[in-house]
Amino acid sequence: MISSSLPRGPGVGFKPEHFAAIAAAPQPVGFFEVHAENYMGAGGPPHAQLGRLRADYALSIHGVGLSIGSMQPLDREHLSRLRALCERYQPESFSEHLAWSSHDSVFLNDLLPLPYTPATLHHVAGHIDLVQETLGRQMLLENPATYLTFAQSTLEETDFLAELVRRTGCGLLLDINNVFVAATNHHLDARAYLARFPLTAVREIHLSGHSETVDDQGAPLLIDSHDTPVKDPVWALYEEVIARTGPIATLIEWDNDVPEWPVLRAEAEAAGALLAHAARHEQAA
């Protein structure tokens, strides 16, 4: 099984509108990440651009449509498309979400939450096994941003993830914005969550922005909107995590109201500076 092996530096979620700027000069990023489903057409500009990027940078393929958290069977056709994409581009990493997005063959186009119980754990572990077997590679599973919880949940999300790692050998993609969003939304302490998180399994980190609203009682409700710079409390949590783990491949995700390339590059450079600091610290220790 091929292990996830992104370079331990900064990366950026690739947007086609940035292609010309990125291709014009070497960029201070170690890898690019793309959403798998955008590259499942037969040909054309998407593959031309991805082929060019892949020649110069490490690649992370990030799925948003596999519905690993579904209680129904995985879509075999989609799994075959993922296998073909991974075979074509040989990415350093493939990742997906602890969430579901399809039901009865309807695709809901969002990352929906699931209860955490021994039964759902068993089901999700089976799906991860099938993905890893089909792709012949380790996958990374991302912690979700959630807006509500389930009365039937009996397991902590962190324990659920740790047990999935133990059973399947998958790695984790730690989305620190999701941690901050979910902790705020569920009135939990993000640092306590991270203290329980199985950090040794983390092979990639996501950083992104969020927006703010309120719930039915007027309490803060954060939305994982990926439409702003990374916010200060998320940077602070990130620094604390990499101080403990050492440098980890770190992606800047910005999917809506996407700015010009230099703005994204500057975010990646900011992450890169913190990663360099963590690397020096690691060597000194």
Binding site: G44, S102, Y147, L188
Partner: protein
């Protein structure tokens, strides 16, 4: 054999999926928030994500339709389409394939009878964008052929090829709403045929001269060149075969000769 009852987590997802796509349903039981109560607004985040993201996917595929009807009308229309035609695939590039048919039956838009053909043109453009790569026919390869061989020539369409034939001036309307052409009165108001190609990486839309639509349609169905030319002439007495053939070759609509 008796079916076992569905598991509790599956029941939860069934109820969640039903309610997340239907704003008239109550928030499913068993969903919670730390501060108690029915988490209406929290569930609404998911409802909004699902529906609005699909409406946006549709708008991204049909920008000229949206420009023609305006953002508010488009949003209302897209909301109805999404509810009636949810995607069956996680590939947003193929979502909304039947949007033109939906528009054709959408009464509030019936004062814009050309709208479905604009949608057909936009759908063809996005299919062309993602179509398989293939080298277009090299005109030099035809240079040595005898007139008889040219007349008998049959051509294979490029994977990105599409022909949209309309009784409305679809290419002109589309171009005016996509910033390709200065908006203005359309005189005369007559049918236009659109040839969509992507010989390399750029999708192109060609407005076809009289008879060329019938000519290219026949070619694409595998007719020999001489028969296709007959179709062109039958459709329009002023059909110009050499100009149409030049356009066919320059546009990259075909990849090569079909061997018998």
């Amino acid at each position: 054999m008796r079916n076992s009852p569905p598991s509790a987590p599956l029941v939860t997802q069934v109820a969640f999926a039903a309610a997340v796509t239907d704003p008239d349903r109550a928030v499913p039981a068993g969903l919670a928030a730390w501060n108690g109560g029915v988490p209406e607004r929290r569930f609404a985040v998911y409802r909004n994500n699902v529906t609005v993201s699909l409406m946006e996917a549709l708008g991204a595929r049909y920008p000229a339709v949206r420009a023609i009807v305006g953002a508010d009308f488009f949003a209302a229309m897209a909301r109805l389409y999404v509810a009636a035609h949810p995607p069956r695939s996680p590939l947003m590039m193929v979502y909304g394939e039947d949007f033109a048919d939906f528009l054709a039956g959408f009464e509030p838009a019936e004062s814009l009878p050309y709208l479905p053909d604009i949608a057909r043109l936009e759908a063809a453009r996005s299919r062309a964008y993602h179509a398989a790569d293939a080298a277009p026919l090299d005109p030099a390869g035809l240079a040595g052929l005898s007139p008889e061989a040219i007349a008998a020539l049959r051509l294979a369409p490029h994977p990105a090829f599409a022909l949209i034939r309309s009784v409305h001036p679809v290419v002109t309307i589309w171009a005016m709403n996509e910033g390709e052409r200065e908006p203005g009165p359309i005189e005369p108001w007559e049918g236009e045929d659109a040839l969509v190609t992507r010989p390399h990486l750029d999708v192109a839309v060609h407005r076809l001269p009289p008879g060329a639509g019938a000519f290219i349609a026949a070619l694409a169905e595998g007719a020999p060149l001489r028969d296709a030319a007959g179709h062109g002439l039958a459709a329009a007495p002023e059909f110009d075969l050499s100009a149409a053939l030049a356009l066919v070759l320059a546009s990259g609509a075909f990849t090569g000769a079909i061997d018998d």
